[in-house]
């Protein structure tokens, strides 16, 4: 009770600083929030296209049927592999005609079928990660009658690279804002401490516990963190709406992510104020 009342009094004593600290916490978490939305949507997109992740092994024209059958059986024995389909040269040409009607004329004029036969290797769920795909592709490439193996490596790698760049940017920007937020929270706590230094002196004199003396200031920090966290969620939501309406539709992050964001604000506020209290209590 005492702590709550004192924390409230401190907030009212320096409302501008409190607002500023909350705004900085909000900015730091906002950056993280934007990254969160991007990551979430990327994950959703990945899970949707995961079903289509497959390895295509192109077969040389001179491959023998028994070799192919043996390879199919061996590949099917791998735990990662769900199914292996043989696509003959003719089938490849037919589906190419269907897929690319604008080249119909070109295909008709062909004297020899230029398309290779292939083995389409479908993967089990849970083995559609870049690592697993690469492992299967490598094994398929070992067969001498396999000319080339494709599995959409380029774009998978590019997506992950994008995500990594996003994470680094988030880390740098988020940390910068967090440091500023910590400094401002520290200043606010310092002002609150000095405004109450006579009371703190008396509290120590008569044997108030350390926790009792510190609690109001920690509460103040936690409160700043909550406000900052909620503000960050609001800012993130506003950006999400803007992008969704004007550029391309996005999915909003789950509730647990939002709660984690606000929780991070609280913990951050607590840590920043605890450090400030530790440091400045010694000065009075």
């Amino acid at each position: 009770m005492h702590a709550l009342r004192e924390a409230w009094a401190a907030l009212r004593r320096a409302p501008l600083l409190t607002a500023l600290s909350a705004a900085m916490v909000a900015l730091a978490l906002f950056v993280v929030g934007l990254f969160g939305v991007a990551t979430w949507n990327l994950q959703q997109a990945l899970s949707r296209i995961e079903d289509r992740v497959e390895v295509v092994a192109y077969v040389r024209d001179d491959a023998r049927q028994d070799e192919l059958t043996l390879a199919e059986t061996e590949l099917l024995r791998m735990p990662e592999v769900r199914d292996v389909r043989y696509i003959s040269k003719e089938e490849a040409l037919i589906s190419a005609r269907q897929d690319l009607p604008e080249f119909e004329d070109l295909f008709m004029e062909l004297e020899v079928n230029p398309l290779p036969a292939s083995l389409e290797i479908e993967l089990e769920e849970g083995f559609r990660t870049p690592d697993a795909v690469a492992r299967v592709a490598e094994l398929a490439a070992v067969y001498p009658f396999i000319e080339d193996v494709r599995y959409g490596q380029e774009w998978v790698d590019r997506l992950f690279l994008l995500q990594r760049i996003g994470a680094i940017t988030t880390g740098v920007l988020g940390t910068a804002f967090a440091v500023v937020a910590a400094l401002i929270i520290g200043t606010a706590i310092r002002i609150a401490l000095f405004a109450r230094r006579e009371e703190i002196y008396v509290m120590r004199l008569v044997g108030a516990t350390r926790g009792f003396i510190r609690r109001p200031f920690l509460l103040e920090g936690a409160f700043t963190g909550v406000v900052g966290g909620l503000l960050a969620v609001a800012l993130t939501y506003a950006s999400f709406l803007t992008v969704s309406r004007l550029i391309f539709p996005l999915e909003w992050i789950p509730l647990s992510w939002m709660l984690a964001g606000v929780g991070a604000g609280v913990i951050f506020g607590l840590i920043a104020s605890a450090l400030a209290v530790r440091r400045h209590l010694r000065e009075i």
Binding site: H2, V202, V206, F212
Partner: protein, 268 residues
């Protein structure tokens, strides 16, 4: 409370006979980085319910002694034992436990300005965990105990020096301490107010509270010849009026070698 006054078995019983010491200093030396040695091998103890003056010129180490007992500071060497809490083992985190057994008042009162006498006492009760419903009544009772019933609603600025010191004493009594430390409590008061404070201390002492009062007011000390007297000079304990009962203290040895003490020795 069990174990509140554990006697230290490591001390020679000839110097400190087994008794209920509230405060026990053993070979206490305190050195400050710039000021040098403030206390030099000081040993004495104060029993439960005992009253003692601590005198000496300014800079003789009186305030340092009280600060060490209040654990606002730690000795460089030696041990301060307060109500079973040793300066060697009590962590900063636990100092509050010592503070609740040791009341402290100062020459400059150190009350919260802008608040009434009642509010000053209530604040202390609140921060030491007194149930809210009883705070107001208890504060009133404490102020009555120090003779300020009529002034509970007066702000600190409206009170005289003597009255302010009484508020500070009421505040110190909030924890029902075993011992009251007073650092020049009459330093800012006229003679009449000083006597009033001393009489109050004697009343509190009569009800069982130990009192250790630092003062350089020799007039006052002389007026109470029955109160034990400890004298510090340049950080050393040079006189203890009860030294005869505790042979081995430096006081009995140095007694005649201290010309400063002439005026005091004739008092009893």
């Amino acid at each position: 409370m069990a174990g509140r006054f554990p006697d230290s078995p490591s001390l020679p019983s000839s110097v400190f006979p087994r008794q209920r010491s509230v405060i026990k200093l053993t070979g206490v030396t305190k050195e400050y980085p710039r000021r040098g040695r403030a206390l030099d091998d000081v040993s004495f103890h104060l029993q439960k319910g005992e009253f003692a003056f601590l005198t000496g010129h300014s800079g003789s180490g009186k305030s340092t002694t009280l600060r060490l007992i209040h654990m606002a500071d730690r000795p460089t060497r030696g041990e301060v034992l307060v109500s079973g809490f040793s300066s060697e083992t009590t962590s900063e985190r636990e100092v509050w436990k010592v503070r609740r057994r040791v009341g402290m008042v100062f020459q400059d009162f150190r009350l919260l300005p802008g608040r009434t006498a009642q509010e000053n006492v209530e604040f202390v009760l609140e921060v030491t965990g007194t149930p809210r419903s009883t705070i107001s009544t208890r504060a009133g009772r404490l102020l009555a105990q120090v003779g300020l019933s009529a002034k509970t609603g007066a702000r600190v600025e409206e009170l005289s020096g003597g009255e302010r010191q009484r508020v500070a004493i009421a505040r110190a009594l909030g924890n029902e301490p075993l011992v009251l430390l007073a650092d020049e409590p009459t330093g800012n008061l006229d003679e009449r107010a000083s006597r009033g404070i001393l009489d109050l201390f004697r009343d509190l002492n009569a009800s069982g509270m130990a009192v250790l009062m630092a003062t350089h007011d020799l007039e006052l000390v002389r007026a109470y010849p029955d109160i034990r007297l400890l004298e510090l000079s340049e950080g050393r304990l040079v006189y203890d009026s009860t030294a005869e009962e505790a042979p081995g203290l430096p006081a009995s040895r140095d007694r005649d070698a201290q010309p400063d003490l002439g005026s005091l020795q004739g008092r009893s």
